[in-house]
Amino acid sequence: MAVWNYLDGFFPQLLLIAFALVMPAIDYVVKDKRVLAWASLVPLLVLAALFTEWLFIGGWEPPASDIALLEVSMFSGLFVLVFVFVGIVVVLGSPEFIKADKNQGEYYALILLAITGMTVVAEAADLIALFVGLEIAGISSFALSGFRKTEKRSAEAATKYFIVGGFSSALTLFAISLIYGVAGTTQIVGIEPVLAGYVSGTEPIDAGPVLVLATVLLMAGFGFKIAMVPFHMWAPDVYEGAPTPISGLLAAASKKMGFAAFFKVFLIGLILTKTDWDIAVGALAIITMTVGNLIAVSQTNMKRLLAYSSIAQAGYVLIALPVATQYAVAGGMFHILTHAFMKSGAFMVVAAMGAVAVGEKLDDFKGLNRRSPFLALSMTLFLLSLAGIPPLAGFASKFVLFSSSVYASFEPGQGWLIWLAIAGVLNSALSLYYYARVIKYMYMEKGTGDSVKIPPMMAVAVGFAVLMVVGIGLFPDPFVSACRDAAEAFSGLAPGWR
């Protein structure tokens, strides 16, 4: 039992890894490859049920970890829930999409491993654990992007992603070693007290340029993960080349992992030097959303359009960092939650269109309403939600997020924060232009081709995302509360954090 006491904090990860490991074996035994999808849904559904009960109902609680590597809190729990939900949507959308491919067992195993890595990042209490989680998720996703290795675009995407990802890992690791050199600890909550001199027997440390360098390197390293401008170049190529469900996983989950890391390291570990980085991050947020939206306008491939749109959405979430209040973290998490559903749903629509040979170009959306009213309506809801039109989920989360910066700007000396909200709403209006154009293609332009029948599992995946986007929009209360609890738990991690 002693071993279990040591490991029970890893319960979600162990469950995922166990299923990931048996997946190739199942692949070897069964003929009907859809069994693989059902099998990989098992751990995801179990975790989804348990974490939903914990965060929204109360009752079950995850076992606390005895070791200092992981910190299980409502903050990490909400991220885990997001990853698991995206995993469910992606797995549901996969069997039809890859039905002609080999090595399907490895495909599902890698999805589960990628999600494992993301959960480690969400729960990491230590910079080393954080880095290990980033790597588990990263390496699994490189392989997933290149899953169709005979396909040129897929291989190119994997190579690009691998090189960029490896580079960003190196930057992150270097930054971590610098922080360790200054603070003498890799515990995320331990950095600030050491720097501030709260630990008995120590003086405040003026780390000076070393810490600034570490901050910049971390911004770059995490910036790659969340596709923050100017570290965003890889995202459209990879999203375009990777199998579409995997693009959904990258945009909706992998990116959120980057935010989990960003929030933890910047808002807890480096909060003492916030004045060094807040204006830079704020400026990068505005640049990221503006560049993402401007380039999205001219895209002709739907996956690239969604890639740029998720770059822009990352810019919105970045607002939470310079604002740095509990309410802002709640808003950022809420937008992460809703974006996971809208973006994975939108990618599933594209995947469904690819699976039934309609195509992934913007032109292929012409007259989609006649070919598949369900897909057209779902896509319309996802796009309107991404643009922040009420009463959909994206509006509710943008509302909380942007209003947090309005609120914080009332504080003396923080007036500049209002510009983050203004940039956010102006960008929302800009994004409406290209979203509305897609809707116009689907409903107002004449297309060719007959009506298509959507494979049932994909329809379930899209339908689930629609349900969440509309449901969160109409009844945001439990989700807002959960995000507030998560933000409270987050601020509870660091002593002295407001």
Binding site: L384, I389, P390, P391, F395, A396, F399, V400, F402, S403, V406, Y407, F410, A421, I422, V425, L426, S428, A429, L432, Y433, A436, R437, K440, Y443, M444, P476, D477, V480, S481, R484
Partner: protein, 507 residues
């Protein structure tokens, strides 16, 4: 009459149910118009009963009566918690400012549905969207929570975007997307204003009354000016005010007739309503500081709209620009900050809603029967369509402010109160009265009277169909009725306006 019945929610829900039914008709889409007419008529009948109940039994203290204690008293008040953690509640209620617009909404929606009776292109979507639009507008005019207000405000955009984009004219793509984005940007200014008011009030509530009350003590003068400017921009674009009016002519020219009727009849009123319900009571000091800006923009809109009308070749575009001019009177009325002026501004919204619906319908009739709306190509139509030309004449006369018809009461009172406030500056808006008469009569003369046109084939032109003449006739009857008895409406507007003005320093 409606003790314990959530009557307003029922009226808002009816078109929503109708819309869902209409969308899900599948192959039986020829019944869509009956579904739409059924549900919108039910909403209309109930709303008329609400008006009767509103007038007959404003018994204070009864269930559903909400005392404002210094702010507006509401009837048929309902309150439910929605997003508790942010202090957002679904609150609806009616008072003198909203009751007329409320019933105007159900009336014009029903009438536009009837007027589109021969829509053949994708009828189940068309009628479904009309009903969704009705839901949004009804929500805007009844809700008493800023967050919910904004939600309804934005919901209105989507059906209108589709109505223009799918059923519109040749240049519909451009017009639809311009309408959508232009008005959405304005809404976002409003959104930031709402966020700022919520946090500055510090009452953890988006309820309008809570924020009005908190604003009395909490809102500093500079804060009020900044937020009023943002909110005024948000509402003013919808109104529309010069120079932010350019979406309107495009949207109107391309929109289908019923879409234009709802756009001019209801959507523009949302802007006017927002200023008097949201901006002025919450931010009186901001309004006072920007009084001259409001007045200048109002006069610019009145004159510019009227002058541009003179140059129009398209009948519908002329009517569209005339809306800019007439909605300027609403703003001018508000800007006087006098009892008579503000009340007349509110009444002008109601009057313009009735009149402009007639005008757009007549444009639709001309387009439908003659195949063109270009004034130069028309002429002598009174010989072919006598009923239509009579109705159009009455409509134009009503719009130019003929005494005895509804617009006269509103515009005359706006001008009179303008004289009270700014004396001889009155000469600016008064010029527009002459210009308005000129463009209407000139257009009438060229299109309806004189020798029959030879530029278009008039052999198949016949008079109006029943589903065209019944709605127009009904509206003309109301125009005459409220022209003679404007006091029926004014007696309910007046007390509400008094409450707004009591919040102002000058009174």
């Amino acid at each position: 009459m409606f003790e314990g019945v959530p009557i307003i929610s029922i009226i808002i829900l009816l078109p929503l149910i109708g819309a869902i039914m209409s969308f899900s008709l599948g192959r039986h889409d020829k019944y869509a118009k009956w579904v739409a007419l059924g549900f919108s008529t039910a909403a209309l009948v109930l709303s008329l009963l609400v008006v009767v109940a509103f007038m007959v039994e404003p018994n204070t203290g009864s269930e559903g009566y909400h005392e404002g204690n210094g702010f507006f008293d509401f009837q048929f008040y309902e309150e439910y918690s929605w997003i508790e953690s942010l202090g957002i509640r679904y609150i609806v209620g009616l008072d003198g400012l909203s009751i007329a617009l409320f019933v105007l909404t159900t009336l014009l929606s029903t009438i536009s549905i009837l007027f589109s009776w021969d829509t053949k292109l994708r009828p189940k979507e068309y009628f479904g969207l009309m009903l969704v639009l009705e839901v949004g507008v009804l929500g805007v005019f009844t809700t008493l929570d800023y967050f919910v207000f904004y939600v309804f405000w934005e919901i209105v955009l989507i059906p209108m975007y589709f109505l223009i984009g799918v059923w519109g004219g040749p240049n519909k793509d451009y017009a639809a997307i311009k309408f959508f984005i232009y008005t959405h940007i304005a809404s976002l200014a409003l959104l930031i204003a709402i966020m700022a008011m919520y946090f500055e009030a510090g009452a953890n509530s988006f309820g309008m009354e809570d924020i009005w009350r908190a604003g009395q003590s909490e809102f500093a003068r500079t804060f009020q000016i900044a937020v009023f400017a943002a909110a005024f921009f948000g509402f003013g674009v919808k109104l529309p005010m010069v120079p932010f009016h350019t979406w309107l002519p495009d949207a109107h020219v391309e929109a289908p007739t019923a879409g234009s009727v709802l756009l001019a009849g209801l959507l523009l009123k949302m802007g006017g309503y927002g200023i008097i319900r949201v901006a002025m009571p919450t931010l009186p000091e901001g309004a006072e500081a920007l009084q001259l800006v409001m007045a200048a923009i109002a006069i610019a809109s009145i004159l510019y709209g009227a002058l541009v009308c003179l140059a129009q070749r398209d009948l519908k575009k002329m009517v569209a620009f005339s809306s800019i001019s007439h909605m300027g009177f609403v703003l001018l009325g508000y800007a006087t900050f006098t009892q008579v002026g503000v009340a007349a501004g509110v009444f002008q919204m109601f009057a313009h809603g009735l009149v402009t619906a007639v005008l757009f319908m007549m444009c639709g009739v001309v387009q439908h029967h003659c195949g063109t709306r270009i004034i130069q190509d028309l002429g002598g139509l009174s010989k072919k369509m006598p009923a239509a030309s009579t109705m159009m004449t009455i409509g134009f006369l009503a719009s130019l402010g003929l005494p005895g018809l509804v617009s006269f009461a509103a515009e005359f009172m706006v001008l009179a109160s303008m004289f009270d406030t700014w004396a001889l500056w009155l000469f600016l808006p008064i010029i527009s009265v002459a210009i308005t008469a000129a463009y209407y009569l000139w257009a009438l003369q060229r299109s309806m009277f004189g020798p029959l046109t030879t530029k278009i084939d008039t052999s198949h032109v016949h008079d109006m169909n029943w589903y065209e003449s019944v709605p127009v006739g009904l509206l003309l009857a109301l125009i005459a009725l409220f022209g003679v008895f404007p006091l029926v409406v004014f007696q309910y507007i007046d007390p509400a306006v008094r409450i707004v003005l009591d919040l102002f320093g000058g009174g």
